[in-house]
Amino acid sequence: MEQVQLLGMWLSPYSYRVIWALQLKGIAYEYIEEDLSNKSPLLLQCNPVHKKIPVLIHSGKPICESSVILEYIEEIWPQNSLLPCDPYERAIARFWIKFADDKGPIVWKICGTRGEERQKVIEESLEMLKTIEEHGLGDKKFFGGDKISMVDIAFGGLAYWPGVIEKVLGRNLLEAHKFPRLHAWTKNFKEVPEIKENLPDFGRLLKRQT
Protein backbone atom coordinates (compact mmCIF):
# COMPACT_ATOMS: atom_id res chain seq x y z
CA MET A 1 0.00 0.00 0.00
CA GLU A 2 1.46 3.34 -0.97
CA GLN A 3 1.77 5.70 1.92
CA VAL A 4 0.39 9.21 1.56
CA GLN A 5 1.04 11.86 4.18
CA LEU A 6 0.15 15.52 4.20
CA LEU A 7 2.01 18.05 6.32
CA GLY A 8 -0.46 20.89 6.73
CA MET A 9 -1.78 23.65 8.94
CA TRP A 10 -5.45 24.35 9.67
CA LEU A 11 -5.17 28.09 9.03
CA SER A 12 -3.68 27.68 5.57
CA PRO A 13 -5.93 27.66 2.50
CA TYR A 14 -3.00 26.10 0.61
CA SER A 15 -3.10 23.16 2.99
CA TYR A 16 -6.83 22.83 2.33
CA ARG A 17 -6.26 22.77 -1.46
CA VAL A 18 -4.42 19.48 -1.04
CA ILE A 19 -6.97 18.07 1.42
CA TRP A 20 -9.79 18.82 -1.03
CA ALA A 21 -7.98 17.22 -3.96
CA LEU A 22 -7.20 14.05 -1.99
CA GLN A 23 -10.78 13.86 -0.68
CA LEU A 24 -12.32 14.39 -4.13
CA LYS A 25 -10.23 11.52 -5.49
CA GLY A 26 -10.92 9.30 -2.50
CA ILE A 27 -7.25 8.93 -1.53
CA ALA A 28 -6.51 7.77 1.99
CA TYR A 29 -3.83 9.86 3.66
CA GLU A 30 -2.35 10.63 7.04
CA TYR A 31 -2.72 14.27 8.01
CA ILE A 32 0.02 15.79 10.15
CA GLU A 33 -0.72 19.21 11.65
CA GLU A 34 2.42 21.35 11.79
CA ASP A 35 3.14 23.96 14.44
CA LEU A 36 4.74 26.64 12.28
CA SER A 37 6.31 28.31 15.31
CA ASN A 38 8.11 25.03 15.97
CA LYS A 39 8.60 23.27 12.64
CA SER A 40 9.12 19.52 12.76
CA PRO A 41 12.37 17.90 11.59
CA LEU A 42 10.23 16.07 9.02
CA LEU A 43 9.01 19.35 7.51
CA LEU A 44 12.50 20.85 7.43
CA GLN A 45 13.85 17.68 5.84
CA CYS A 46 11.05 17.46 3.27
CA ASN A 47 11.03 21.15 2.32
CA PRO A 48 14.51 22.51 2.98
CA VAL A 49 14.10 25.26 0.36
CA HIS A 50 10.94 26.95 1.64
CA LYS A 51 10.36 25.22 5.01
CA LYS A 52 6.64 25.65 4.37
CA ILE A 53 3.46 23.62 4.31
CA PRO A 54 1.74 21.97 2.57
CA VAL A 55 4.06 19.09 1.75
CA LEU A 56 2.72 15.87 0.29
CA ILE A 57 4.80 12.81 1.03
CA HIS A 58 4.06 9.92 -1.33
CA SER A 59 5.90 6.64 -0.72
CA GLY A 60 8.53 8.60 1.17
CA LYS A 61 9.06 11.23 -1.56
CA PRO A 62 8.14 14.84 -0.74
CA ILE A 63 6.37 17.19 -3.13
CA CYS A 64 6.19 20.89 -2.21
CA GLU A 65 4.17 23.91 -3.37
CA SER A 66 0.41 23.37 -3.37
CA SER A 67 -0.18 23.96 -7.09
CA VAL A 68 2.68 21.56 -7.93
CA ILE A 69 1.15 19.05 -5.49
CA LEU A 70 -2.26 19.39 -7.19
CA GLU A 71 -0.76 18.59 -10.61
CA TYR A 72 1.07 15.62 -9.09
CA ILE A 73 -2.11 14.28 -7.45
CA GLU A 74 -3.97 14.65 -10.76
CA GLU A 75 -1.34 12.59 -12.59
CA ILE A 76 -0.90 9.84 -10.03
CA TRP A 77 -4.62 9.40 -9.33
CA PRO A 78 -6.49 10.27 -12.54
CA GLN A 79 -9.95 9.27 -11.25
CA ASN A 80 -12.45 12.14 -10.80
CA SER A 81 -10.22 14.29 -12.94
CA LEU A 82 -9.64 17.87 -11.83
CA LEU A 83 -8.27 19.16 -15.13
CA PRO A 84 -9.88 19.06 -18.59
CA CYS A 85 -8.47 16.75 -21.28
CA ASP A 86 -8.07 19.34 -24.02
CA PRO A 87 -4.66 21.12 -23.91
CA TYR A 88 -6.19 24.56 -24.51
CA GLU A 89 -8.78 24.11 -21.77
CA ARG A 90 -5.98 22.91 -19.50
CA ALA A 91 -4.01 26.07 -20.33
CA ILE A 92 -7.00 28.22 -19.35
CA ALA A 93 -7.30 26.28 -16.09
CA ARG A 94 -3.58 26.67 -15.36
CA PHE A 95 -3.78 30.40 -16.11
CA TRP A 96 -6.41 30.81 -13.40
CA ILE A 97 -4.62 28.54 -10.94
CA LYS A 98 -1.55 30.75 -11.40
CA PHE A 99 -3.72 33.84 -10.97
CA ALA A 100 -4.99 32.38 -7.69
CA ASP A 101 -1.34 31.80 -6.64
CA ASP A 102 -0.02 35.19 -7.76
CA LYS A 103 -2.91 37.56 -7.07
CA GLY A 104 -5.07 35.68 -4.56
CA PRO A 105 -2.84 36.25 -1.52
CA ILE A 106 -3.64 39.99 -1.37
CA VAL A 107 -6.83 39.05 0.49
CA TRP A 108 -4.90 37.43 3.33
CA LYS A 109 -3.12 40.75 3.90
CA ILE A 110 -6.26 42.68 4.85
CA CYS A 111 -6.47 41.65 8.49
CA GLY A 112 -2.75 42.15 9.06
CA THR A 113 -2.74 45.79 7.92
CA ARG A 114 -4.11 49.01 9.36
CA GLY A 115 -5.26 52.45 8.26
CA GLU A 116 -4.19 53.68 4.82
CA GLU A 117 -2.31 50.51 4.02
CA ARG A 118 -5.37 48.42 4.83
CA GLN A 119 -7.52 50.61 2.55
CA LYS A 120 -5.05 50.08 -0.27
CA VAL A 121 -5.02 46.32 0.29
CA ILE A 122 -8.84 46.24 0.35
CA GLU A 123 -8.98 48.12 -2.96
CA GLU A 124 -6.47 45.76 -4.54
CA SER A 125 -8.44 42.78 -3.25
CA LEU A 126 -11.66 44.11 -4.76
CA GLU A 127 -9.87 44.64 -8.10
CA MET A 128 -8.64 41.07 -7.96
CA LEU A 129 -12.13 39.75 -7.20
CA LYS A 130 -13.52 41.86 -10.05
CA THR A 131 -11.08 40.27 -12.48
CA ILE A 132 -12.18 36.80 -11.46
CA GLU A 133 -15.84 37.82 -11.63
CA GLU A 134 -15.50 39.31 -15.11
CA HIS A 135 -12.96 37.08 -16.80
CA GLY A 136 -12.64 33.87 -14.86
CA LEU A 137 -15.99 32.48 -13.91
CA GLY A 138 -18.33 33.33 -16.74
CA ASP A 139 -21.81 31.93 -16.27
CA LYS A 140 -20.58 28.56 -15.12
CA LYS A 141 -21.45 26.89 -11.84
CA PHE A 142 -17.80 26.13 -11.18
CA PHE A 143 -14.60 27.41 -12.81
CA GLY A 144 -14.37 24.01 -14.45
CA GLY A 145 -17.94 24.05 -15.75
CA ASP A 146 -20.53 21.71 -14.27
CA LYS A 147 -18.21 20.02 -11.87
CA ILE A 148 -15.56 21.14 -9.46
CA SER A 149 -12.02 21.37 -10.83
CA MET A 150 -8.47 22.26 -9.84
CA VAL A 151 -9.25 25.95 -10.46
CA ASP A 152 -12.11 25.87 -7.94
CA ILE A 153 -9.77 24.22 -5.45
CA ALA A 154 -7.11 26.85 -6.11
CA PHE A 155 -9.63 29.62 -5.38
CA GLY A 156 -11.16 27.66 -2.50
CA GLY A 157 -9.84 29.98 0.20
CA LEU A 158 -12.05 32.70 -1.27
CA ALA A 159 -15.11 30.61 -0.42
CA TYR A 160 -14.62 31.01 3.31
CA TRP A 161 -12.03 33.64 4.17
CA PRO A 162 -13.98 36.73 3.00
CA GLY A 163 -16.71 35.88 5.53
CA VAL A 164 -14.14 35.98 8.33
CA ILE A 165 -12.55 39.17 7.03
CA GLU A 166 -15.96 40.85 6.74
CA LYS A 167 -16.66 40.10 10.40
CA VAL A 168 -13.29 41.57 11.40
CA LEU A 169 -13.68 44.66 9.18
CA GLY A 170 -17.31 45.21 10.02
CA ARG A 171 -18.03 45.74 6.35
CA ASN A 172 -18.83 43.70 3.28
CA LEU A 173 -16.17 42.53 0.90
CA LEU A 174 -17.65 39.93 -1.42
CA GLU A 175 -21.08 41.57 -1.84
CA ALA A 176 -23.68 39.58 -3.76
CA HIS A 177 -24.82 42.53 -5.90
CA LYS A 178 -21.24 43.49 -6.85
CA PHE A 179 -19.98 39.95 -7.38
CA PRO A 180 -23.06 37.87 -8.26
CA ARG A 181 -21.13 35.08 -10.00
CA LEU A 182 -18.46 34.73 -7.31
CA HIS A 183 -21.08 34.92 -4.60
CA ALA A 184 -23.05 32.08 -6.19
CA TRP A 185 -19.81 30.15 -6.67
CA THR A 186 -18.91 30.34 -2.95
CA LYS A 187 -22.24 28.66 -2.16
CA ASN A 188 -21.88 26.01 -4.87
CA PHE A 189 -18.30 25.28 -3.83
CA LYS A 190 -19.11 24.81 -0.16
CA GLU A 191 -22.03 22.52 -0.99
CA VAL A 192 -19.80 19.92 -2.64
CA PRO A 193 -19.78 17.15 0.02
CA GLU A 194 -16.00 16.66 0.04
CA ILE A 195 -15.57 20.42 0.55
CA LYS A 196 -18.40 20.83 3.05
CA GLU A 197 -16.91 18.12 5.24
CA ASN A 198 -13.45 19.67 5.08
CA LEU A 199 -13.65 23.34 5.98
CA PRO A 200 -11.93 25.04 8.91
CA ASP A 201 -14.19 26.10 11.76
CA PHE A 202 -15.47 29.66 11.19
CA GLY A 203 -15.48 30.55 14.87
CA ARG A 204 -11.93 29.32 15.29
CA LEU A 205 -10.77 31.35 12.26
CA LEU A 206 -12.51 34.47 13.54
CA LYS A 207 -10.97 34.11 16.98
CA ARG A 208 -7.56 33.90 15.37
CA GLN A 209 -8.05 37.19 13.46
CA THR A 210 -9.30 39.25 16.36
Binding site: V49, E65, V68, E71, Y72, P87, F95, K98, H135
Partner: protein, 252 residues
Protein backbone atom coordinates in the same frame (compact mmCIF):
# COMPACT_ATOMS: atom_id res chain seq x y z
CA UNK B 1 -7.47 9.39 -52.78
CA UNK B 2 -6.93 11.65 -49.82
CA UNK B 3 -8.47 10.29 -46.62
CA UNK B 4 -9.61 12.39 -43.66
CA UNK B 5 -7.29 10.39 -41.39
CA UNK B 6 -4.27 11.28 -43.49
CA UNK B 7 -5.32 14.94 -43.19
CA UNK B 8 -5.44 14.90 -39.38
CA UNK B 9 -2.19 12.96 -39.16
CA UNK B 10 -0.61 15.62 -41.31
CA UNK B 11 -1.90 18.30 -38.96
CA UNK B 12 -0.02 16.76 -36.04
CA UNK B 13 3.37 16.78 -37.68
CA UNK B 14 6.09 19.41 -37.12
CA UNK B 15 5.73 20.77 -40.60
CA UNK B 16 3.13 23.45 -40.30
CA UNK B 17 3.07 24.73 -43.83
CA UNK B 18 1.37 22.11 -45.96
CA UNK B 19 2.73 22.20 -49.46
CA UNK B 20 1.29 19.04 -50.99
CA UNK B 21 0.13 20.11 -54.47
CA UNK B 22 -2.29 17.21 -54.74
CA UNK B 23 -4.39 18.59 -51.86
CA UNK B 24 -7.35 20.79 -52.77
CA UNK B 25 -6.37 24.46 -52.36
CA UNK B 26 -9.08 25.23 -49.77
CA UNK B 27 -7.88 22.35 -47.57
CA UNK B 28 -4.33 23.73 -47.65
CA UNK B 29 -5.55 27.23 -46.79
CA UNK B 30 -7.66 26.04 -43.87
CA UNK B 31 -4.92 23.75 -42.60
CA UNK B 32 -2.32 26.50 -42.72
CA UNK B 33 -4.42 29.12 -40.98
CA UNK B 34 -5.58 26.66 -38.33
CA UNK B 35 -2.04 25.52 -37.73
CA UNK B 36 -0.74 29.05 -37.26
CA UNK B 37 1.36 29.72 -34.21
CA UNK B 38 1.98 33.32 -33.25
CA UNK B 39 4.01 34.63 -30.37
CA UNK B 40 3.62 38.13 -29.00
CA UNK B 41 6.82 39.16 -27.20
CA UNK B 42 9.53 41.81 -27.12
CA UNK B 43 13.13 41.43 -28.32
CA UNK B 44 14.45 41.42 -24.75
CA UNK B 45 11.88 39.57 -22.64
CA UNK B 46 13.37 36.60 -20.84
CA UNK B 47 9.84 35.23 -20.35
CA UNK B 48 9.32 35.37 -24.11
CA UNK B 49 12.74 33.81 -24.71
CA UNK B 50 11.65 30.72 -22.75
CA UNK B 51 8.75 30.23 -25.12
CA UNK B 52 10.88 30.81 -28.24
CA UNK B 53 13.41 28.23 -27.02
CA UNK B 54 10.65 25.69 -26.36
CA UNK B 55 9.13 26.21 -29.81
CA UNK B 56 12.54 25.92 -31.48
CA UNK B 57 13.52 22.83 -29.47
CA UNK B 58 10.36 21.17 -30.78
CA UNK B 59 10.85 22.47 -34.31
CA UNK B 60 7.64 24.47 -34.37
CA UNK B 61 7.32 27.26 -36.89
CA UNK B 62 5.84 30.43 -35.47
CA UNK B 63 5.32 34.05 -36.35
CA UNK B 64 6.96 36.44 -33.88
CA UNK B 65 5.26 39.74 -33.16
CA UNK B 66 7.54 42.10 -31.23
CA UNK B 67 5.51 44.53 -29.18
CA UNK B 68 6.35 48.05 -28.11
CA UNK B 69 5.25 47.90 -24.48
CA UNK B 70 4.87 51.68 -24.30
CA UNK B 71 2.28 51.35 -27.07
CA UNK B 72 0.66 47.95 -26.79
CA UNK B 73 -1.19 46.64 -29.81
CA UNK B 74 -4.95 46.26 -29.75
CA UNK B 75 -4.45 42.56 -30.46
CA UNK B 76 -2.25 42.06 -27.40
CA UNK B 77 -4.80 43.81 -25.17
CA UNK B 78 -7.53 41.64 -26.68
CA UNK B 79 -5.53 38.43 -26.20
CA UNK B 80 -4.38 39.18 -22.65
CA UNK B 81 -7.01 41.39 -21.04
CA UNK B 82 -6.13 40.29 -17.49
CA UNK B 83 -2.42 41.18 -17.46
CA UNK B 84 -1.88 43.00 -20.80
CA UNK B 85 1.62 41.47 -20.89
CA UNK B 86 3.89 39.46 -23.13
CA UNK B 87 4.47 36.70 -23.93
CA UNK B 88 1.19 35.52 -25.41
CA UNK B 89 1.06 32.45 -27.62
CA UNK B 90 -1.78 32.26 -30.10
CA UNK B 91 -2.48 28.82 -31.56
CA UNK B 92 -5.36 28.19 -33.92
CA UNK B 93 -6.55 31.71 -33.05
CA UNK B 94 -6.70 30.90 -29.33
CA UNK B 95 -4.50 32.91 -26.93
CA UNK B 96 -2.53 31.54 -23.99
CA UNK B 97 -0.83 33.88 -21.50
CA UNK B 98 1.77 33.43 -18.74
CA UNK B 99 5.04 31.87 -19.86
CA UNK B 100 4.90 28.81 -17.58
CA UNK B 101 1.34 28.07 -18.70
CA UNK B 102 2.45 28.48 -22.33
CA UNK B 103 5.36 26.07 -21.79
CA UNK B 104 3.00 23.41 -20.38
CA UNK B 105 0.68 23.94 -23.35
CA UNK B 106 3.54 23.58 -25.85
CA UNK B 107 4.67 20.41 -24.09
CA UNK B 108 1.19 18.87 -24.25
CA UNK B 109 0.42 19.94 -27.80
CA UNK B 110 3.72 19.01 -29.48
CA UNK B 111 5.07 15.82 -27.97
CA UNK B 112 8.43 15.63 -29.78
CA UNK B 113 11.58 16.57 -27.83
CA UNK B 114 9.88 16.73 -24.44
CA UNK B 115 10.97 19.41 -21.98
CA UNK B 116 9.42 17.62 -19.02
CA UNK B 117 10.30 14.11 -17.82
CA UNK B 118 7.67 11.38 -18.07
CA UNK B 119 7.52 10.50 -14.40
CA UNK B 120 5.19 12.59 -12.23
CA UNK B 121 7.83 13.16 -9.54
CA UNK B 122 10.32 14.44 -12.11
CA UNK B 123 7.62 16.75 -13.51
CA UNK B 124 6.83 18.02 -10.02
CA UNK B 125 10.50 18.75 -9.45
CA UNK B 126 10.84 20.72 -12.69
CA UNK B 127 7.70 22.71 -11.88
CA UNK B 128 8.96 23.37 -8.35
CA UNK B 129 12.16 24.96 -9.66
CA UNK B 130 10.32 26.97 -12.30
CA UNK B 131 8.13 28.43 -9.57
CA UNK B 132 11.17 29.00 -7.34
CA UNK B 133 12.86 31.01 -10.05
CA UNK B 134 9.83 33.14 -10.83
CA UNK B 135 8.57 33.66 -7.29
CA UNK B 136 11.78 33.85 -5.27
CA UNK B 137 14.93 34.33 -7.33
CA UNK B 138 13.71 36.84 -9.91
CA UNK B 139 11.99 39.21 -7.44
CA UNK B 140 15.18 39.21 -5.31
CA UNK B 141 17.42 40.03 -8.25
CA UNK B 142 15.06 42.78 -9.34
CA UNK B 143 15.15 44.26 -5.83
CA UNK B 144 18.94 44.13 -5.88
CA UNK B 145 18.94 45.90 -9.25
CA UNK B 146 16.48 48.63 -8.33
CA UNK B 147 17.23 49.31 -4.67
CA UNK B 148 20.14 50.89 -2.86
CA UNK B 149 22.13 50.56 0.33
CA UNK B 150 20.86 48.12 2.93
CA UNK B 151 17.86 47.02 0.83
CA UNK B 152 20.16 46.13 -2.07
CA UNK B 153 22.46 44.23 0.28
CA UNK B 154 19.58 42.26 1.74
CA UNK B 155 18.18 41.49 -1.69
CA UNK B 156 21.58 40.22 -2.85
CA UNK B 157 21.78 38.11 0.29
CA UNK B 158 18.48 36.51 -0.69
CA UNK B 159 19.74 35.96 -4.26
CA UNK B 160 22.88 34.22 -3.06
CA UNK B 161 20.91 32.02 -0.63
CA UNK B 162 18.56 31.05 -3.46
CA UNK B 163 21.44 30.33 -5.83
CA UNK B 164 22.90 27.88 -3.29
CA UNK B 165 19.76 25.77 -3.67
CA UNK B 166 19.82 26.09 -7.45
CA UNK B 167 23.48 25.02 -7.50
CA UNK B 168 22.55 21.91 -5.41
CA UNK B 169 19.91 21.01 -7.97
CA UNK B 170 22.52 20.80 -10.72
CA UNK B 171 24.60 18.18 -8.88
CA UNK B 172 25.47 15.28 -11.17
CA UNK B 173 23.66 16.85 -14.12
CA UNK B 174 24.70 18.64 -17.27
CA UNK B 175 21.40 20.49 -17.48
CA UNK B 176 18.58 20.93 -14.96
CA UNK B 177 16.70 18.55 -17.27
CA UNK B 178 19.49 15.95 -17.02
CA UNK B 179 21.26 15.07 -20.25
CA UNK B 180 19.00 17.36 -22.26
CA UNK B 181 17.61 20.84 -21.78
CA UNK B 182 14.36 20.83 -19.83
CA UNK B 183 11.74 23.22 -18.51
CA UNK B 184 13.91 24.39 -15.61
CA UNK B 185 16.81 25.21 -17.96
CA UNK B 186 14.53 27.41 -20.06
CA UNK B 187 13.25 29.16 -16.94
CA UNK B 188 16.75 29.64 -15.47
CA UNK B 189 17.95 30.76 -18.90
CA UNK B 190 18.11 34.40 -17.74
CA UNK B 191 21.08 33.39 -15.57
CA UNK B 192 23.01 32.85 -18.78
CA UNK B 193 21.52 35.67 -20.85
CA UNK B 194 20.63 38.48 -18.46
CA UNK B 195 22.63 37.95 -15.25
CA UNK B 196 25.90 39.01 -16.96
CA UNK B 197 24.12 42.23 -17.98
CA UNK B 198 23.08 42.93 -14.38
CA UNK B 199 26.63 42.19 -13.26
CA UNK B 200 28.01 44.71 -15.74
CA UNK B 201 25.39 47.45 -15.35
CA UNK B 202 24.67 47.27 -11.62
CA UNK B 203 27.98 45.92 -10.35
CA UNK B 204 26.22 42.93 -8.82
CA UNK B 205 28.23 39.74 -8.23
CA UNK B 206 25.76 37.03 -9.15
CA UNK B 207 27.44 33.95 -10.60
CA UNK B 208 30.99 33.53 -9.40
CA UNK B 209 33.35 30.82 -8.12
CA UNK B 210 30.90 30.05 -5.32
CA UNK B 211 28.70 28.36 -7.93
CA UNK B 212 30.96 26.13 -10.05
CA UNK B 213 28.10 23.98 -11.36
CA UNK B 214 26.11 27.01 -12.48
CA UNK B 215 29.23 28.48 -14.07
CA UNK B 216 29.68 25.24 -16.00
CA UNK B 217 25.99 25.18 -16.96
CA UNK B 218 26.03 28.73 -18.38
CA UNK B 219 28.03 27.97 -21.56
CA UNK B 220 26.42 24.51 -21.97
CA UNK B 221 23.11 26.33 -22.18
CA UNK B 222 24.13 29.44 -24.10
CA UNK B 223 26.14 27.51 -26.69
CA UNK B 224 23.47 24.90 -27.39
CA UNK B 225 22.72 25.37 -31.12
CA UNK B 226 18.99 25.85 -30.62
CA UNK B 227 19.38 28.24 -27.69
CA UNK B 228 22.12 30.33 -29.23
CA UNK B 229 19.98 30.82 -32.31
CA UNK B 230 17.70 33.05 -30.24
CA UNK B 231 19.80 35.10 -27.88
CA UNK B 232 18.81 38.63 -26.85
CA UNK B 233 22.10 40.38 -27.64
CA UNK B 234 24.31 41.32 -24.71
CA UNK B 235 25.28 44.79 -25.96
CA UNK B 236 21.70 45.79 -26.70
CA UNK B 237 20.61 44.48 -23.28
CA UNK B 238 23.37 46.49 -21.59
CA UNK B 239 22.09 49.68 -23.21
CA UNK B 240 18.52 48.94 -22.20
CA UNK B 241 19.32 48.03 -18.60
CA UNK B 242 21.82 50.85 -18.21
CA UNK B 243 19.02 53.28 -19.00
CA UNK B 244 16.72 51.51 -16.56
CA UNK B 245 19.38 51.48 -13.86
CA UNK B 246 19.84 55.23 -14.21
CA UNK B 247 16.10 55.67 -13.81
CA UNK B 248 16.18 53.83 -10.49
CA UNK B 249 19.42 55.41 -9.34
CA UNK B 250 19.33 59.01 -10.55
CA UNK B 251 22.66 60.81 -10.23
CA UNK B 252 22.55 63.06 -7.21
Amino acid sequence: MFSIFAFWNYMDKDVIKIKDPSLPHKVVEIANSMAEVKLFKTWSTQFGARVVWALKLKGIQYEAIDEDLSNKSALLLQYNPVYKKVPVLVHNGKPISESLVILEYIEETWKQNPILPEDPLGKANARFWAKFNDEKLLPSIWSAFTKEGKEREEAMGAVLESLKFVEEELKGKKFFGGEKIGLADLVFGWLANLAPVFEEVAGLKILDERYPLLLAWQPEFSEHPIIKDYWPPHDKLVIKYQALYEKYHPAK
